[in-house]
């Protein structure tokens, strides 16, 4: 491997970049993320990943504190946010569902590309392939595209936000939670959270009493994501294996 030729950066002394431009670029190197922003980010992550791997407020809080966050402010956020998110999940999830293994899934099952990421989508398997028989709600929602002018939440279209809302509604309004997963499917066909979406949709179907639909979708999930971190929870939806 040949040595990489040294190209001075614009901010280095002796650079031919104008001084003002250099100063502007140095501004861009400042650390970004207030305590609150980092806490919000970790709160959202705990809500998304905690069900899968047992991630909770504690390790993120400790790590965040070690990275320089003010502990008192962090604890306030953790108590109000992450702990609440974890509690919501446990209150709305099948108690009999064993926690998924903390060990990571086998490499071959993961749709995330090996480093460095290539142009391939992070989730390689389109949901249309995963769900062999779309539920009526999903099919209907996919056919009826929302009008472009329809008002909607500014944050409502993001992957994470849609699924957070779906998760929060699982216990009280599983039909709406299912609609939100359908909306996610429509808007984020190649998103990075399709596994999470499918796990939520299966749970919503189960709560609606649509056992057969849930089982069909769970079987498709198992086939395409056999080592998913959500597999054990989804597996609980499947009928027991014949002796």
């Amino acid at each position: 491997m040949s040595a990489e030729p040294k190209l001075p950066r614009w901010t280095e002394s002796g650079s031919d970049a104008p001084a003002e431009l250099q100063e502007l670029l140095r501004t861009g190197r400042a650390p970004l993320g207030t305590t609150r922003e980092l806490a919000q980010l970790s709160q959202g992550l705990a809500g998304l990943l905690q069900p899968a791997v047992g991630l909770s407020a504690a390790p993120l809080a400790a790590a965040a504190a070690s990275s320089g966050l003010k502990l008192s402010r962090w604890l306030a956020w953790a108590a109000a946010g992450v702990g609440g998110a974890a509690a919501v999940w446990y209150l709305t999830t099948e108690p009999a569902s064993a926690p998924p293994p903390s060990q990571p899934p086998a490499p071959h099952s993961q749709p995330i590309p090996a480093e460095p990421p290539a142009a391939e989508p992070l989730v390689a398997v389109p949901v249309e392939q995963v769900v062999a028989e779309p539920t009526p709600e999903v099919a209907s929602a996919a056919r009826n595209k929302a009008p472009r002018s329809a008002p909607r939440s500014a944050s409502g279209s993001s992957e994470a936000e849609l699924l957070r809302r779906a998760q929060s509604l699982l216990g009280t309004n599983p039909a709406r939670a299912l609609e939100l997963t359908a909306e996610h499917q429509r808007r984020h066909r190649n998103g990075v959270l399709t596994e999470e979406r499918e796990a939520l949709a299966i749970e919503a179907l189960r709560r609606l009493g649509r056992t057969q639909a849930a089982q069909r979708r769970a079987a498709a999930f198992e086939q395409h994501y056999p080592n998913s971190v959500h597999a054990s929870r989804v597996r609980g939806t499947l009928p027991p294996a014949a002796p």
Partner: protein, 179 residues
Amino acid sequence: MTLALKRPELASVADFAQLFADHAPFVLRVLQHLGIPRSDVQDQAQEVFVAVHKGLSSFGGRSSVRTWIYGICVYVASNHRRRAYVRRERAVAEPPEAVDLQAQEAFEQDQRWPALQRLLDTLDPDKREVFVLYELEELSMREVAEACGCPLQTAYSRLHAARRLLLERYREQELKDER
């Protein structure tokens, strides 16, 4: 900090949390440099870390963890751009639901930050990615090429083109200011 850990060492929740702590600030920063609107940065950063979590199993340590995460940021930002309709709708939709006033104030204190973003906005995505990762994030050009998924020479070409364009923009602005 550049980590070069092999995948098994990153398997536990505690390690993921440490990885989050080490990298969250720069993920938030680089997503904005790559053109993600501030209102979307939190959600996009979440997608980055979910992807990191899922990808740990296939991460073999051939590049540094940091370079790998930069690559995921580039992918997520690119994916966000492709969903252009989201941004078009947002421009005419209601204002954001919740504004982090404290963060907003801190952000607006330094007017140079938005000036930098406006300058970067003049670059097309390919040149912007290379310029940001080399000049602002201080990756080596080889790491930049890895993160962007392009040949090394292509990365150099994009960097030179980006520099040329930014100098032109800067001088145009100078001329305007002098009038």
